[in-house]
Amino acid sequence: MKRRRAMAVGNKRKSISSQILASILVSAIYPMQNFPIMLINAMLAPFSFLLVITFISHGTLLGVAIIGALVMTTVSAGMALQADLSHFKNDIRLQDMVVSSPTSAIVYIIGMGLSELIYFLPNIIILAILAVIFMNLTATAVLTIAVVMTIMFIFSITLSFMLSTLTVDIIQSWAFTNMVSTLLSTLPPVYYPITYIPMPWRYLAYLSPTTYAAQLAQSAAGFIALSPTNILADWVILVVVAIVMLIIGVKRTRWREP
């Protein structure tokens, strides 16, 4: 048994916070230091829609669009992760070095998720300021929006991580990104109320979890009227979908290749 320890020495004080910091460094801090344009790019996506919707609606949809942009920010943050993860796994094989190190899959993805939040933090702050200026949100509304954003973030991060581990190169990853982007951000009525979608097409929107998130946020802010049953149903669907995604994610993510 003494012998066993001889080979397994190495570093005994494994610090999870160090491992999380490592992901934040490689995926957020270093690239930002050297290529600040990335930050601007990350900020633009949700804003462009916010502006377009506000102009087209002559300002009437500003509030809805702000909330939509907030929800979309966390969804985009999760989706953006997929390209980074695919790069680390397939292009530079950093993920191989991490898999064979003491860092576990969950710690790796928490670090990567946080680094993505760092990119989108300026976004969230600006949108929050806009919300305070232009809207009159109750505490319940703020809480609802925050919870909905968190759930959508966890959902899209888990999906991104799983998809990235199934790809063998960045090109495959782009294909997934486009599909996911349609599902999570084009289909659902995030920047406008769902009632704007004519009837048979509205069912299509219900295929996307973002729709439920957006509805809950919009109703909490008073932009659409939902019955309590409807609200409950939306919560149940959103939470169940997120949990199912987590379960699929844990089962299907290929940390160690089969």
């Binding site: 080979m7 190190s101 576990s104």
Partner: protein, 311 residues
């Protein structure tokens, strides 16, 4: 120190490609073990299985008694790897990359910073330590990767073609470093430079088409070849009468006699008397490799393969 044991390790990739076919061996997990084999022989596959990146299809592998399949987290404390195709992140400096890797291994920030600074000195890239990797040469980047795993303090290092792309002096420096490290590490390396395996390795494995052809010390491997000595005649048109052994055309185009040590000595005496230039030595790893893999360099064949479009 323990042992590295593979018992009928087999890997069949998704679409039915068998990359490893019942590979079995048992070597001490100490010193340097070199795995050699042609492109696609299965070296990287074996390395990735042993470092828990890839699941094996059947069989069993243990390092120091720890099962690679069932106890990956213990293995991950023990090993560190430079993957064959690993690259530095474009926008990091070698120091930053090493720092991040050490953090992934769980070191506290301060200790990781110190170790990273030490590591760049160790592989002699201090000059480039704070330059972004996009401005560095391929060899420097390779050294930074090696520095990262050395700094990690894992007792078992897997280096998948660590010297590819290094200049002869850098390669020599890395060899010296590995020779130093092997005193208290087990180093598993793959290489296409047979000289590297010959010089460094305490144990050598030869793999071909997923099958382990031979394994052992260089002396052990020599015994696997029919002939243990080689006499190269460095002049044209010389005939030698042999009692035992055979005459072949060597890899360098010279006539070469493969035979026993005793017969080689006898022939050498004769050649000296006749004033003919020659060299005589135990059979080299290169010769063993060609003999065992039963391949000869057929340049014509390789050219055929390479004739693609756009030419």
């Amino acid at each position: 120190m323990g042992r590295l044991v593979c018992d009928k390790v087999t890997k069949v990739y998704g679409k039915g490609a068998t990359a490893l076919d019942k590979v079995s061996f048992n070597v001490p997990a100490s010193g340097i073990f070199a795995l050699i084999g042609r492109n696609g022989a299965g070296k990287t596959t074996l390395v990735r299985i042993l470092t828990t990146e890839l699941m094996l299809s059947s069989g069993k592998a243990t390092i120091d008694g720890v099962d690679v399949t069932n106890d990956p987290s213990t293995i991950r404390d023990m090993v560190a790897i430079v993957p064959q195709e690993a690259r530095l992140l474009m926008w990091t400096t070698p120091k930053q990359f090493i720092l991040a890797y050490l953090l992934y291994r769980g070191y506290g920030y301060k200790e990781a910073v110190e170790r990273a600074a030490e590591a760049v000195k160790r592989v002699k890239i201090e000059k480039f330590a704070d330059k972004q990797s996009q401005h560095l040469s391929g060899g420097t980047k390779r050294k930074a990767l090696v520095a990262a795993v050395i700094a990690a303090e894992a007792k078992i290092l897997f280096l998948d073609e660590p010297t590819t792309g290094l200049d002869p002096i850098s390669r020599g420096e890395l060899w010296a470093m590995l020779n130093q490290l092997k005193k208290d590490h087990f180093i598993f390396l793959t290489t296409h430079y047979l000289e590297e395996a010959e010089r460094l390795a305490d144990m050598i494995g030869i793999i071909e088409d997923g099958k382990l052809l031979a394994i052992g010390t260089l002396d052990n491997l020599r015994k696997k070849v029919k002939h243990e000595y080689s006499v190269r005649i460095l002049q044209k048109g010389i005939n030698v009468r042999l009692r035992e052994g055979e005459v072949v055309t060597g890899l360098d185009g010279h006539r070469q006699i493969l035979t026993t040590e005793r017969e080689a000595n006898r022939i050498s005496q004769g050649l000296i008397k006749r004033g003919i230039r020659f060299s005589s030595s135990p059979i080299s790893l290169e010769e063993i490799f060609y003999y065992l893999t039963k391949k000869s360099i057929d340049i014509a064949d390789e050219e055929k393969e390479g004739n693609g479009g756009w030419q």
